[in-house]
């Protein structure tokens, strides 16, 4: 069975256009590594957000640590501003079970107490296991249960979606 995946570049353009109205001078942005950080890098630039971009690596907050161990690719989280009282746009590439977002929120609260956190995702593939929803969604896709949906970035910086069926 082959699934028609949307063009990630087109989805990005739509998402960016919709976010333009939501961004204010107080908005700060944080991308979840690695795919979410790629999307956030572009949005941060295209939306002209003044405060430097933050990135989160949630390896220390994953809920599968005691079954799967520490992720071997741990790059430091970098939040170059005080999150307390901020209006945060949290960016990820694919919203799936909701566990990554839960980990990211747990980590964010160890930096301080944000005013609001809104979730921005490039694509939502459904199948949530936690009561988490996104406020800004580029596209909704339907993929087979258990398949791996990945965002990739080529050397020119172009984004594309890829499906690995089990």
């Amino acid at each position: 069975m082959s699934v028609a995946l949307p063009d990630a570049e087109k989805v990005y353009t739509d998402l960016c256009a919709r976010l333009k109205q939501a961004v204010t001078a107080e908005t700060v942005m944080i991308g979840i590594q690695t795919g979410g950080a790629w999307v956030a890098e572009r949005l941060h630039r295209d939306l002209g957000i003044a405060t430097p971009l933050g990135t989160l690596n949630i390896s220390f907050y994953r809920d599968d640590y005691s079954s799967s161990g520490l992720h071997s690719n741990v790059r430091p989280s970098q939040i170059p501003f005080d999150v307390s009282g901020k209006r945060i746009l949290l960016v990820d590439d694919v919203l799936y079970t909701g566990r990554t977002v839960r980990g990211a929120m747990n980590e964010l609260f160890d930096y301080g107490r944000p005013d609001t956190i809104e979730l921005v995702v490039l694509v939502d593939r459904g199948e949530r296991q936690l009561p988490i929803c996104a406020q800004f969604i580029g596209a909704t896709v339907s993929v087979p249960k258990g398949a791996k949906l990945d965002l990739r970035r080529d050397d020119a910086g172009r984004l594309s979606l890829h499906l690995e069926e089990k």
């Binding site: 220390f60 005691s66 799967s68 989280s77 160890d110 930096y111 301080g112």
Partner: protein, 322 residues
Amino acid sequence: MRNPQLNEKGELQHLLNVEGLPREHLVRILDTAASFVGVTEREVKKVPLLRGKSVFNLFFEPSTRTRTTFEIAAKRLSADVINLNISTSSQSKGETLLDTIDNLAAMHADMFVVRHAASGAAHLIARHVAPHHHVINAGDGRHAHPTQGLLDAYTIRHYKQDFTRLSVAIVGDILHSRVARSLIHALNILGTPDVRAIAPQTLLPTGVEQLGVKVFHDMNAGLRDVDVVVMLRLQNERMRGPLLPSAQEFFKCYGLTAEKLTLAKPDAIVMHPGPMNRGVEIDSSVADGGQAVILPQVTFGIAVRMAVMSILGGGSAGRSEE
């Protein structure tokens, strides 16, 4: 024979020794530690990885710094920490080492951090415990002190980046130093081309050259153009018989002074695993000077121990939890 530090899937199960530690594991520990340095600078200096796990600090030999940094590391990973000063407890009542371990395992310990005066004590415990227990060697006799070797390597990488271009001099009581052994192995694994041991013949282990180091008895010759100077503590408590004329004599020949330090590269860093004997192996002006990175070593030590504990403590499909 399988590497006693790895499980059947090649994952790190115990940290006993830097010698024989595959390079990818060593580099992974250093990389992970870099992420933990950031955690210790945050408002909440804790991550939840070892929540609900119990770490037992078993110190059969006195230690303040190492025990404290292991305790802080475990607490920053949200583990429960139990400190046992065994020398004043069960052992004096005649309990064997492995009986002590079995009793603690029955109290649902997950990780043992072990310091012991006998070389090989941590290995013995690692061979004895069930697969879901982890053992970290926090110093065994003259043999190894792997987390110190790793934090020294981390410190060198932090300041000097590329090991493949470095000259590193280790100075002083190498004979009694498990720190020196662990660091030499780490430097070899990371591809350091020039590792020097500077010491009098009486404070060098026999066959030290086989570890891949160049031996110097003349400190001035040994320090020339090095990037890193690692000073070691004169371990009076481990010395049997007269290995040295006197501490003053030792300082004259092998103590690091500002004048001798000028022989090293101008940007050379000075390290010391602590505790320092000022005026015995290192002059106060150097210990407190701009090239010393002795206190950052302590800070990095916490991050390195967090990295080791978090890599060991996580599950894997082949490593059953109970």
